[in-house]
């Protein structure tokens, strides 16, 4: 979707706030949200929280801290997937008379599961539509839902640097729709192609793009 999260190339978004020794977490609750997300992902009821993060209204998105967005999206996912009701969350207590579940992620599993290599590449043979070195153009796509195509690459011409193999199309897969397995390509875009003559002639931006995001150029 053309949401606020698709920020590449925007200007006027304030300070970077760089600090050399900035820690990954700034408060104990942030680590707890991160852990809750991992523990609940073990139910397999959702593929990713990003689609929900992207649905946060732009003004709220910009106001919230990073882990506030996670917390908001996680809460939505918990309700939508039926793990708990909104009333239970607002009350902070479970409905009376419901039995207890068994947690999907045990403490033992928590020690090893996050360190296993997730297999996202699909063992499917598909004739690759593009070759390394071929020129490709970013398609003019404006889907209302999740996509991994940054809008600044639309209509821009780049060169295929690498074939990444076959993956599910996130635009469908995150909604449990037809995963449309297809090749992902690492594409190099010259900075001048993306940003015009003021950009450095030497510089470039590399993006991994699914076949559906590309057309021959």
């Amino acid at each position: 979707m053309n949401g606020i999260h698709d920020m590449g190339g925007m200007q006027g978004l304030g300070e970077i706030g760089y600090r050399r020794d900035d820690p990954a977490f700034h408060a104990a609750w942030e680590t707890r949200v991160h852990a809750l997300v991992t523990a609940l992902a073990a139910y397999g009821k959702w593929r990713a929280l990003r689609p929900d993060i992207e649905q946060i209204a732009a003004a709220e998105y910009l106001r919230m801290s990073y882990y506030e967005r996670w917390l908001t999206a996680l809460t939505e996912r918990i309700v939508k997937s039926g793990l708990a009701s909104r009333e239970e969350i607002e009350r902070g207590a479970a409905d009376a008379g419901l039995g207890r579940s068994v947690p999907a992620l045990s403490a033992d599993a928590a020690r090893s599961a996050p360190l296993q290599i997730p297999r996202t590449e699909l063992a499917v043979r598909i004739q690759p539509p593009f070759r390394v070195g071929e020129r490709v153009r970013g398609a003019n796509l404006n889907p209302p839902g999740h996509t991994r195509m940054p809008r600044y690459a639309r209509g821009k011409v780049g060169v295929v640097e690498r074939d990444r193999g076959v993956f599910a199309l996130p635009d469908n897969d995150v909604y449990f729709l037809d995963p449309k397995p297809q090749h992902v390509y690492l594409v190099r875009f010259a900075a001048r192609e993306l940003w015009g003559a003021d950009a450095s002639a030497r510089d470039s931006v590399y993006i991994d793009l699914w076949q559906d995001y590309l057309e021959p150029a």
Binding site: H5, D6, M7, G8, G9, M10, L13, G14, E15, Y18, R19, R20, P23, F25, H26, A27, T31, R32, H34, A35, L36, T38, A39, L40, S65, L71, T72, L74, L83, A84, E88, I89, E90, G92, A93, A94, L98, G99, P103, S106, A107, A109, A110, P114, Q116, I117, E121, P150, R164, F167, V184, A191, L194, D203, S204, V205, Y206, I207, D208, W210
Partner: protein, 210 residues
């Protein structure tokens, strides 16, 4: 979601606006329902606070500096080479390592969210997830790097890696001069997180360049 700011909170909200309280309430509900085991959460917190972090990435870099054969494998297939050192996991399914040289400087960003090589660097710092870093790095990498204290000469090519898809990226920084006699462990100690994101250079031992 309430639009009330933190400086004038009132008690009429059923759900507290303070995220710390919201998380606490959510966790206790999920524990009550038997959906999460608090001991599992403790394990995960310890893992990402204390165990998985940039020291992993630094070991990969140091090994690549002293072992040309490992470096060749690392640049060809990052995931496999990094697994040789025992590092793998969430957000590390397809690791791509890009090498800084005297003529090429690489920098990593995720414009759409916060993609980052967790198994090697842990969780990202706040500035990496800031709107300004995400927005500006693709359109003005040199300006961003300069603001962060890194001047890149005009004759050096800057490559920006917008890592929001199938792969996660790590920069293999340049080995500083004067480190020929250092052990692998001493080399790893020089490598900071930000040098592996590509917003800093590795300083030689003792700080400033000779």
């Amino acid at each position: 979601m309430s639009g009330h700011g933190h400086d004038h909170d009132h008690d009429h909200q059923a759900v507290p606006s303070d995220p710390a309280l919201r998380v606490k309430a959510l966790e206790s509900l999920l524990v009550e329902k038997g959906l999460v085991d608090p001991a599992a959460l403790d394990v995960l917190v310890d893992l990402y606070e204390n165990k998985v972090g940039p020291r992993n990435g630094a070991q990969v870099v140091a090994r690549a500096w002293i072992d040309p054969e490992f470096k060749r494998r690392l640049l060809a297939d990052g995931t496999a080479a990094i697994a040789e050192l025992g590092f793998s996991g969430q957000q590390g399914e397809k690791l791509t390592v890009v090498e800084n040289t005297p003529s090429v400087h690489n920098v990593i960003v995720c414009t759409l969210c916060s993609c980052y090589p967790w198994p090697l660097l842990g969780l990202p710092p706040i500035w990496y997830k800031s709107s300004a870093y995400r927005a500006r790095t693709v359109i003005d990498a040199r300006g961003v790097l300069k603001e962060l204290g890194l001047d890149v000469r005009d004759d050096v090519e800057v490559r920006v890696w917008d890592s929001n898809a199938a792969s996660r990226y790590l920069v293999l920084p340049q080995r500083p001069r004067g480190t020929e006699t250092l052990s692998e462990a001493a080399l790893a100690a020089l490598v900071t997180r930000d040098t592996m994101i590509g917003v800093a250079r590795v300083a030689p031992p003792g700080g400033e360049r000779p």
